[in-house]
């Protein structure tokens, strides 16, 4: 079942076209990766879907409903929740309180919300930090907080914006594990990433943006062969390496 | 019709003085993002300086504007070094409350030293003179003040937009860290900007005893009006503050004459709300 249907979304800032008739779908229960060079319009697309921007053109259908141009809090309430690329902790509140704010979306009753928050904190390995002011965390901690907070809202669609940037390779592997577990629990995810090791192994489908335009939408194993994608973004070195690791291609 | 133009002229003259007071505040706000709640009290202090020079030493306010301007320049520098310096980087409320305390301090020091009595400087060079053009009356003190205001605002604007110092000021305003990295001594810029901002209002206050009574409360309303002008004109825009000042003066004058004196300020503050609800960044704000 299609959970998210992005139809010809265009976003213009004056003369600058940041998203040009972008269309793709996200199936329920899947993980879709959104990749592309810097400035391709990935975060702009996220902003359109999550309601921060009102698209200049096109439609966004979520779970059967047209959510184009709705206010951000409404879209979050419908179950499409995003994290921010430049992390935004609620600084003077504790880590626990941050996640609690997310949890309160579905549970107005305190006890329930507390339990949900504790669960998400455990999932994202934040227990040892939960009483600290959110502003005090390291960048890795803040990214995990973004995720825990968004998770606490019990989203149908979780949109992660570069959650792995700046992490060590061990931390990346840990994040990949968390995302796998989340998928097993039934959450659909759309993930913007530059860290290829973090997205290619787990994504069911990859959407590639370049210069505001979608240039490819396919399974990861096909994306790495796509010459346009290689040209625009991946580079032939990565493409060869990926194919080698997967066992198809000259070195496999 | 003639009455209308007369009322308009009166408004423009006082508006230009508002613009001068506002320009000083605009500079401070634009560069440091600080609302100087004591700005009106700076005006009051300048008026007292000018008054006492006139009363005790027979110096005409025309001459003592310079002294008043210099005095408030120093006052501004001191304010920065002793108070504002500690509020940079903290939420805006801190500077606002600190300068509120300063305003209370200055007002009551003057009340204590000089008593709350209204003081009028009589027999100055300009007072009681009027200039006639057609059927219109231009009171000379107000006219002089307005002309001075325009000149000083023009000078300040030229300074900020056309000189190397001015560019350093603008750079500091836009991004203090980046400016530091470019070799600009931003601390010194802050000190000078506070001083210059003070000097602007000091010059305004210097000439005012020619036509206004001096008393400890005289600055409060000017201060509020300065905030209104700066905010209406748009953050950091000196031309905006100037336009807003004139607009406020005109609206005040028209409302006071055609409706009722008490409506002067209702109209002015109402104007601010109307402008800012329609254009949340002010008329020319960035």
């Amino acid at each position: 079942m299609t959970l998210l249907d992005v139809q010809n979304v265009t976003m213009k800032f004056g003369e600058l076209v940041a998203n040009d008739r972008v269309s793709f779908t996200v199936e329920a229960g899947s993980i879709v990766g959104l990749i592309g060079p810097n400035g391709a319009g990935k975060t702009t697309l996220f902003n359109c879907i999550s309601g921060l921007y009102k698209p200049t053109g096109g439609r966004i259908v979520f779970d059967g409903e047209d959510i184009t141009g709705l206010k951000p809090y409404r879209i979050a309430r419908k179950g499409a929740v995003r994290t921010f690329q430049v992390v935004r902790p609620l600084k003077d509140m504790s880590v626990f309180d941050n996640v609690l704010v997310g949890a309160f979306l579905r549970s107005s009753e305190k006890r329930e919300a507390f339990d949900r928050a504790a669960e998400c904190i455990r999932l994202c390995s934040l227990e040892s930090l939960q009483e600290r002011p959110a502003g005090d965390l390291s960048i890795g901690g803040k990214k995990r907080l973004e995720m825990a907070r968004a998770l606490a809202t019990r989203p149908k669609l979780l949109m992660l914006d570069e959650v792995m940037a700046g992490l060590t390779s061990t931390e990346v592997k840990a994040s990949v594990e968390v995302i796998r577990r989340l998928r097993e629990s039934g959450i659909t995810m759309m993930i913007v990433e530059h860290v290829m090791e973090g997205i290619m192994p787990i994504a069911d489908k990859i959407v590639v943006l370049d210069g505001g335009v979608k240039i490819a939408e396919d399974a990861p194993k096909n994306i790495v062969h796509d010459p346009r994608v290689i040209e625009a973004y991946l580079g032939s070195k990565y493409s060869k390496r990926y194919r080698a690791l997967r066992g198809d291609g000259p070195l496999g | 019709m003639e009455t209308f133009i007369q009322v308009l002229i009166d408004g423009m003259l006082s508006g230009m003085v508002y613009a001068l007071v506002a320009a000083g505040l605009c500079l401070i706000w634009g560069v440091m993002d600080v609302i100087n709640f004591a700005h009106g009290e700076y005006l009051m202090v300048a008026m007292y300086v000018s008054y006492w020079l006139g009363f005790l030493a027979n110096v005409d306010p025309l001459m003592s504007t310079v002294a008043a301007g210099a005095f408030v320049f120093v006052l501004g520098v001191l304010t920065y070094k002793l108070i504002i310096r500690f509020t940079i980087g903290k939420p805006g409320l801190v500077a606002l409350l600190a300068t509120f305390g300063l305003a209370m301090f200055l007002k009551n020091v003057c009340m204590n030293l000089f008593s709350p009595n209204f003081r009028i400087l009589s027999g100055t060079f300009l007072s009681d003179k009027t200039f006639h053009l057609g059927g219109l009356i231009f009171p000379v003190p107000q006219l002089t003040a307005a002309i001075m205001a325009v000149i000083v605002v023009g000078l300040v604007y030229a300074l900020v937009s056309g000189t190397r110092f001015g560019w350093a000021v603008q750079a500091t305003a836009m991004d203090r860290d980046a400016a530091e990295l470019m070799g600009i001594n931003t601390e010194r810029i802050y000190v000078l900007v506070f001083g210059i901002g003070g000097a602007c209002v000091g010059i305004a206050g210097g000439i005012m005893p020619s036509y206004l009574a001096v008393h400890p409360e005289v600055g409060s309303m000017f201060g509020l009006i300065a905030f209104i002008c700066v905010a209406m004109g748009g953050f950091g825009s000196i031309p905006g503050a100037f336009l807003a000042g004139i607009l406020v003066g005109v609206v005040e004058s028209l409302a006071g004459f055609y409706i009722a004196p008490v409506f002067k300020y209702i109209a002015v503050f109402g104007l601010y709300l109307a402008v800012v609800f329609l254009r949340p960044k002010g008329i020319l704000g960035w």
């Binding site: 704010v101 | 301090f105 209702i266």
Partner: protein, 344 residues
Amino acid sequence: MVNSLQRKAFTRKDAVWLVFLAILALLPLLPVVTANSFRMHVMILILLFASMAQAWNIIGGYCGQVSFGHSVFFGIGAYGAGMAVVTYGGLPWPGILIGMIVAAIVAVIISYPCFKLSGHYFAIATFAIVEIFNRAFLVWDWIGGALGLDYPLADEGLKNLMWHNSKVGYYYCALVIFVLIFGIVRWLESNRFGYYMRAVREGQETAESLGVNSTAVKLTAMALSAAMAAICGAFFVQYNLRVDPPMVMSLDMSMKFVLVTILGGSGTLVGPLLGAAVLIPMQEYTRALWGGLGGGVDLIVFGLLIILMVIKQPAGMIGIVRDVRSWFFKKRDAAKGDVPYDTP
């Protein structure tokens, strides 16, 4: 920062509050307290200003929208009660209720457009609103204009909310208001609305991305805050037996709301009380000692103190308490040989 891991509805801190309130309730039984009318007056003012500050704390401290317009709501509350008694010759109670409702409605109407403004523009807009109301009330004949309202002498007692011979009645009244407002804030603080208010303060866009309707939160907080401020205004007029526009609807009065909260510690439950408990005696005693010297020496001192407090410890007295506590604990832990916690 609230430590919210405490899930119990009734915590140890609440127990401390109850004991404190019991002491406050019993104070007037001590003749040493009631004998001195000035002392009672100061205590009543402390309770009143603590309540006022706590009312402002809802929108200004917890929700982070620094408004300088609260004297308008204070004034509406005062005039509500005042009109009921003076203009309509009745009991103050219906006037108090109407005052609260009107204040809440006015708050929502004027703050809705103001919330579209950011930072300093918002603050200045609230100044503008106070000044407009101030002058409008001066020329509004129905409410008494510049002359204000003077209370006629009535029988004392709870019905008329007026006491003549001793201040004890007023004291208990102020105490009830204090308990009410602090109780409401305590309840808000630990429930969803309190967290949403703080989220809006810390990052409005972030809160929105988590499903928080920030506009609704801000308007609700503002309405509550205004209604509480109005109750305080009603008490004020019943205590003062007189009201006129400059007395209640002034920028100075608005600044009091803000100052007491900030100097005590905004966004905390006990901050407003600390602020009032320190500032009001300071204000009243300096006025008693030096006000007679003429020329506001008390205000000169006050102004200097504000400057010092604000720049030295912007977190207010709560910040001072915390600093002292952590200094004390650090010494104790150092003596025990504990290593300080490192940020991961």
